[in-house]
């Protein structure tokens, strides 16, 4: 360890370059040379890059642990960090000339980013291994791994970046890779559309993130996380912010005609805390990336991508970036209880809302997608309640069990492909069933993950979800002390009412019940009963039934049952089969974590048994969340209270699983059919995902389309018409005029040349007595400088007597009346005085000309402003004549 620190000092931790560089190298090699390298080399490159990066991450993580031990682990332990500054990036000017804000390309591993880095490279490695087998037959194998490696690189930049701009680079990078991978099979319109949808929904969120970043820069005077933490107090600026157009800025012509009361209401001074606006803007970014209401719509569609992509990007890593950002900026979010309440409420509502949709979907991956949205909601409920550790811990456990579930689903789809070659049909749970006996390993790992996500103790999901719900119930965010100073001007910082926490808790419990139900619904439909994939084979007949019953497998409702009598004696062709070992090994490892990872932060057990080793994660992350600790009020741990709060969660899991078992195994799906039949409209509405997509189509997208149509008209008439065609016609007019001069006849040009030469000859033959005047305001001295010319010689009349003065022009010591080389004279003037100076010039041809110049000094001195009033004067008699 000592040697390692000698090679990689904590302040110049170059190992990060290897962690980041390996996936980038893999992306480059596979992207540029992949086609020529062949599958084996591409696989080797991609896997070596990821596993190498993971190995480096492990080393870095243990070094960070060592460093943390060195720094001590007290209550106020400094945040252990391993920093690598690659290069200086840019300098921005801060607010009110606070100086420049330096932004470096700097990466840091601290407890939070360290854990996240391990998850990304670790789970990423397993999924790469899985994908190498899953995607083996795809013609674009190399392209897939290029994108996947690039994704891991971008994700690591997002995590390890030590400043907001760098995080944003990673944020956009993962968004790009997500887009590319969702639309990986872009030849199908539907997949390409899903990619576009994800990209555009994320743009809406990124807008918020950019606004939030700008506010951070303005109010905290920094963009690196350490600087933001130091300057976070600036976000409670007592001057407040007025949100245009509300308040005094409301244009009066717009509201002047309204009744007085309404007008006053609209234009009354209303200020908000910058912290609130900044937090909301940042949360908009998080909601986009992490698929929260109202921007969640892209994630279910993102399942159009290959299944390993769904596991890696749209379940385990990228979509948790929003939660990561909230954790990273916990000291910003916690400044505004309103923002925290928004985060928690949106999270809880998303958790419930997505779960209701997940209840009825038939597509296995769609259910998992809504489950992901729902679980992300729980994470936001956690971090929004101030339970940053628990929210992040759910990111951690969710990465394992959801990746395992997705990979298991991939394995199932892979197996079902033996019979069903249509993409949609192969993911439809109504065509599955009975896979338990064909693929035991997949079955076991899927079950373990289902149990974990359903929240059955002692699996990982129980500890993370239970703790989130408990904290949501009892934690409060109090208004920061600094906010008091602004109370007079802005009003007190809004804090949520006391009933909000318990309400969110019960919303969460309701969501948890549904989670348990729909997860076990997928489990029972997929793995129990008999395999129904045979039915999809054309020409299949159900034995012992009427002919017309056979193909009717595309309606809904009555197919969730396990149709009896589809025995193995009717099969023709290959059977579903267990996946090869490169696909099952990742499943087993992930399932192991899904089972055991909960003990890293089993707070409820740890507190009850007084065993701090069961709360490793909390202890480990404490320095990261220390800055926000003062604003989060957590009641002292009370074992009976904690278990009381845990029991509804346990009941939720039991009810959900029990009902799923009853409905799909005992009764063969009849109860759910009955419920659906009793409320067919509601069922259809849930099946159509509450028609939110249609709502967006009708409102937002329709409005944008209309705007685009308007813009087309403006483009056609204003841009193309007035700006382009009219200006072109104007220029063309001059062109038409000038074209007359270009006759193409060489003699015309020669004649023009002769005329021009003659004009120049005349110009040079005649003398030009021109002068410029510069003044010195201090002394009132004006200098008259004559212009130069061919062989020019000068005489002056400086005293204003009408006759040219005599100077010594030839240097013989005696004044004479000849022209000389003296080209400037100086005149001294009192204020408000003016004088006439005459200049005579003789040129090389002996021609003379004179000019009288008036030099005036204004009464009010205007320093530095030269006064020039040349005026042609009647010619004096020729000198000397």
């Amino acid at each position: 360890m000592h040697t390692l620190f000698a090679i990689f000092p904590a302040q110049q931790f170059a190992l990060i370059a290897a962690i980041l560089g390996l996936p980038l190298l893999g992306a480059f090699v596979n992207g540029v040379f992949g086609k020529r390298l062949g599958r084996d080399a591409v696989r080797l490159m991609a896997l070596a890059a990821l596993f190498g990066s993971f190995a480096c991450s492990l080393v870095a993580f243990f070094m960070l642990r060592e460093r943390a031990h060195e720094l001590g682990h007290g209550e106020l332990a400094p945040n252990p960090r391993l920093v690598w500054t690659a290069w200086h990036w840019l300098a921005l000017s801060g607010r009110d000339a606070l100086g420049s804000v330096n932004v470096d390309v700097s990466f840091a591993i601290d407890p939070l980013s360290g854990v996240m880095m391990l998850v990304v490279t670790g789970v990423g490695s397993l999924i790469h291994l899985y994908a190498a087998s899953y995607m083996w037959d795809d013609p674009s194998f190399h392209r897939f791994f290029c994108y996947l490696n690039l994704f891991v690189f971008s994700m690591l930049v997002l995590i390890l970046g030590d400043s907001m701009p760098l995080l944003f680079v990673g944020w956009e990078g993962v968004g790009l890779c997500s887009y590319l991978l969702i639309g990986f099979w872009f030849t199908e319109e539907k997949n390409a559309a899903a990619g576009k949808k994800a990209f555009i929904a994320n743009r809406v969120g990124d807008f918020g993130l950019l606004v939030g970043m700008a506010m951070l820069l303005y109010y905290t005077g920094a963009l690196d996380f350490e600087g933001i933490r130091r300057g976070a107090g600036g976000l409670l600026d007592p001057r407040g912010v007025q949100v245009w157009p509300l308040g005094a800025g409301f244009p009066s012509w717009l509201v002047g005609w309204l009744p007085d009361g309404i007008e006053k209401g609209l234009t009354a001074q209303r200020l908000a805390f910058p912290a609130t606006l900044c937090g909301l803007a940042l949360f908009l970014g998080c909601a986009g990336k992490s698929a929260q209401i109202p921007l969640y719509v892209w994630l279910p569609d993102a399942m159009a991508g290959p299944t390993p992509v769904s596991a890696l990007i749209h379940a385990a890593t990228m979509v948790t970036a929003g939660v990561y950002l909230v954790c990273r900026l916990n000291f910003v979010f916690v400044l505004s209880p309103a923002v925290m309440a928004t985060v928690a409420t949106v999270g809880a509502l998303t958790a419930l809302f997505a779960a209701t949709i997940g209840l009825v979907q038939h597509d296995l991956k769609k259910v998992l997608a809504y489950s992901t949205v729902s679980q992300l909601g729980y994470m936001f409920l956690g971090v929004g309640s101030g339970a940053f550790t628990d929210g992040f811990f759910h990111v951690f456990t969710h990465a394992f069990f959801k990746a395992c579930l997705f990979l298991g689903a991939g394995s199932v789809i892979h197996a079902v492909h033996a019979r069903i070659h249509d993409t949609d049909a192969s993911q439809d749970m109504r065509n599955m069933g009975g896979l338990r006996k064909y693929m035991p390993l997949t079955h076991a790992t899927y079950l373990a993950s289902c149990v974990a996500i359903a929240g059955v103790p002692p699996f990982a999901g129980f500890f993370s979800k239970d703790e989130i719900l408990a904290k949501a119930f009892e934690t409060k965010i109090k208004a920061h002390a600094i906010a008091g100073a602004a109370a007079e001007r802005i009003g007190p910082l809004w804090t949520p009412p006391d009933w909000l926490g318990p309400l969110l808790y019960f919303v969460g419990i309701a969501g948890a019940t549904m989670t348990a139900f729909y997860m076990f619904r997928t489990y029972f439909l997929t793995f129990w009963g008999d395999f129904k994939g045979w039915k999809v084979t054309p020409g299949w007949k159900e034995p012992g039934h009427d002919e017309h019953h056979g193909h009717d497998d595309h309606g809904h409702d009555h197919h969730e049952a396990f149709a009896p009598g589809t025995g193995r004696d009717h099969l023709e062709g290959p059977e579903p089969h267990e996946s090869p070992s490169p696909m099952t090994i990742p499943l087993v490892i992930l399932a192991a974590f899904a089972v055991g990872a909960g003990f890293l932060n089993a707070t409820i057990l740890g507190e009850t048994l007084h065993a701090p080793e069961l709360m490793t994660m909390e202890h480990w992350l404490a320095p990261v969340f220390a800055p926000s600790k003062g604003d989060v009020v957590v009641p002292a741990f009370d074992a009976s209270h904690a278990w009381m709060l845990a029991i509804p969660g346990l009941i939720a899991a039991a009810v959900g699983i029990g009902f799923a078992y009853f409905a799909y195994v005992v009764k063969g799906g009849e109860p759910t059919r009955n419920i659906a039949a009793r409320a067919p409209k509601l069922h259809q509405l849930m099946l159509d995902k509450w028609r939110v997509d249609e709502l967006y189509d009708a409102t937002v997208i329709g409005a944008v389309d209309e705007l685009a149509n308007t813009a087309v008209v403006a483009d056609k008439w204003v841009v193309d018409g007035v700006l382009a065609k009219a200006s072109a016609a104007f220029v063309g007019l001059f062109g038409a005029g000038l074209r007359l001069f270009q006759t193409g006849k060489v003699q015309t040009y020669a004649a023009a040349m002769v005329v021009g030469t003659l004009a120049l000859t005349v110009f040079f033959y005649l003398p030009h007595p021109d002068a410029s005047i510069t003044s010195d305001p201090a002394t009132g001295t004006f200098r008259v400088q004559a212009g130069p010319g061919l062989g020019y010689r000068y005489r002056w009349d400086a005293d204003g007597d009408g006759k040219l003065d005599e100077f010594d022009s030839d240097g013989d010591g005696k004044p004479d009346d000849k022209f000389g080389p003296r080209d400037a004279i100086e005149v001294k003037l009192e204020p408000n005085q003016s004088k006439q100076v005459t200049l005579a010039v003789e040129n090389a041809f002996g021609r003379h000309d004179t000019r009288t110049i008036t030099v005036a000094r204004p009464a009010q001195e205007q320093p530095g402003a030269p006064v020039l009033m040349p005026r042609p004067a009647p010619r004096p008699p020729p000198p000397g004549g």
Partner: protein, 113 residues
């Protein structure tokens, strides 16, 4: 005695004849000859001025040897350029003749706007 004025008047006359010829004649060959005339008028002027300034004390090295041959040097340059111009010019005339079956300048207006 032939003075500098004689040379200059002769040069100016030749130049004017050349310029006038170039502007008025439509035959390319005649135009080329006119250009030649103008160039040689300039040559004559340069050599004449060179001769005039040969006695300028400031330009004469100790010992009285005249070192100033700038005008004559220019004349040689111009003769060389004129030779090159004649070669290129005649090639163009030939090409023009092949294209249009004519060497009249007012018919060679392909480049008009």
């Amino acid at each position: 005695m032939i003075h500098i004025q004689h040379y200059l008047v002769l040069g100016a006359t030749l130049f004017t004849i050349g310029a006038f010829g170039f502007l008025t004649r439509r035959n390319v060959l005649v135009a080329l000859m006119s250009i030649e005339l103008m160039l040689n008028a300039v040559n004559l002027t340069l050599v004449a001025f060179n001769r005039l300034h040969a006695g300028n004390l400031a330009l004469v090295a100790p010992g009285g040897r005249n070192l100033h041959h700038g005008g004559q040097m220019f004349a040689f340059f111009i003769i060389a350029v004129a030779a090159a111009e004649a070669a290129v010019g005649l090639a163009i005339v030939l090409a023009l003749y092949r294209l249009r079956r004519s060497v009249r300048t007012d018919e060679a207006d392909q480049l008009r706007g």
